[in-house]
């Protein structure tokens, strides 16, 4: 057996994939050929090293992103309720709607203290401000795609504001308080991000809060208020 053929058989030889006859002829060649013996050792070591590679760690915000998506999925399960179940049922759910991420999930992302700071801040005053990002600094984008999100939101919000006056007052108040809660959390997140612009967890929260606003607008549009 020559070197070329031996080299070609070495992986199969090491993995136990060749017949006893072939194995014997590989071994016979190895005995007399230091170069192929060396190759065999290198491949063996490579095979062993491959089983002991270091593990890599993804970014800390990964779990927050995953649980956000899962929760968004789940809240999606009751959204189609709509007309069949009657507005009353839908309305109850609308009112009891929580943000799509909750404290334990954020704790999983290592941000419990921060989350308490954000969500402990839940006063629901000044309903008249709905839909306007009320802080002066609030329009500064903290995410690369945020300008677009805000534009999209503003466009749809303008249409809603135009017909809001004709809504039932209770509905309007509920809608506005929902929107306010999100806006308040959003400005808190922004303050955090102004101090630590690279904070992945807060970036993720801003993204989720935008989604939450869009979702709210979706709900309203679906009901054709």
């Amino acid at each position: 057996m020559e070197c070329r053929a031996t080299a070609r058989s070495l992986s199969d030889y090491l993995d136990g994939w060749i017949s006893a006859d072939e194995a014997r002829s590989v071994e016979a060649h190895l005995t007399g050929c230091p170069a192929c013996r060396s190759l065999k050792m290198e491949l063996t070591e490579l095979k062993n090293a491959a089983r002991e590679l270091p593990l890599h760690t993804p970014s800390k915000a990964m779990w927050a992103r995953i649980i956000n998506e899962i929760e968004a999925d789940r809240s999606g399960q009751w959204q189609p309720v709509g007309e069949d179940a009657g507005e009353g049922t839908w309305w109850e759910k609308f009112k009891s709607r929580r943000f799509s991420f909750s404290l334990p999930q954020l704790a999983g992302a290592g941000a419990l203290a921060v989350a308490v700071a954000v969500f402990g801040y839940s006063s629901l005053d000044s309903p008249g401000q709905t839909g306007r990002l009320n802080l002066a600094g609030a329009r500064t984008a903290v995410l690369p795609d945020e300008d677009q999100l805000i534009r999209e939101f503003d466009r749809r919000m303008a249409a809603i504001n135009a017909r809001k006056a004709s809504w039932d007052p209770q509905m309007r108040a509920d809608f506005e308080s929902q929107m306010n809660r999100i806006d308040q959390s959003l400005s808190k997140c922004r303050q955090m991000l102004n101090e630590k612009p690279d904070d992945k967890v807060h970036q993720e929260m801003v993204r989720s809060l935008h989604k939450e606003k869009i979702q709210l607008v979706n709900d309203v549009e679906r009901l054709k208020w």
Partner: protein
């Protein structure tokens, strides 16, 4: 015992059953246990950290949706890793990455590679350097090497997942190993 401590003591199978009932804390424990392996597998397959993060996220979201179909016949790890591999391969297909052919020069130099060997001393392979070298392989070689040598799948499974013959899987693996050896030797 706190819920967290109970979860930490539970088996993957028990946690999977709880997660299937909507218990996100049980699911989080599964995530804590497995996310580094899943991420490392994705990272080695695609050789790009951003793509690997996206894929890992998608795998866990999909895992939550499908976890009710885990029956415990195989080990949870095996099941999860297979799901991960399938997801990465789907991603390759969507992006038009061809695995059955290697895009670079077809045959790997064989004879000169042997001659260039330096003595018979066993050489310690730096794991970090090997990890980096794997990322430099063409996708076809890389997939076979990662699945067979790193993840420990058998050739039949690798061939099945990649949609190639067992013979192709074996010859790709050998070429991948030879190429890695070249890459590692160059760096010394």
């Amino acid at each position: 015992m706190t819920a967290k401590a109970i979860n930490n003591a539970a088996s993957d199978h028990e946690l999977a059953k709880a997660a299937a009932q909507g218990d996100t804390e049980a699911f989080e424990t599964l995530y804590e246990r497995h996310h580094r392996r899943v991420y490392s597998l994705c990272l080695r397959m695609v050789a790009n950290a951003t793509e690997a993060e996206d894929l890992t996220q998608e795998v866990f979201v999909q895992l939550f949706r499908k976890i009710g179909s885990f029956r415990g016949e195989s080990a949870f790890t095996t099941w999860l890793h297979r799901m991960t591999v399938n997801h990465v391969l789907m991603h390759f297909r969507k992006r038009g990455v061809r695995l059955e052919k290697t895009t670079e020069e077809g045959e790997i130099g064989e004879l000169q590679d042997i001659v260039q060997s330096s003595g018979e001393r066993p050489r310690f392979i730096d794991r970090i350097a090997l990890d980096k070298a794997i990322s430099e392989l063409p996708p076809g070689y890389r997939s076979v090497f990662v699945l067979h040598d790193v993840e420990g799948f058998e050739h039949e499974e690798v061939a099945d997942m990649l949609g190639v013959s067992v013979g192709t899987s074996k010859s790709q693996l050998h070429k991948a190993r030879m190429r890695l050896r070249d890459l590692l030797n160059k760096k010394i």
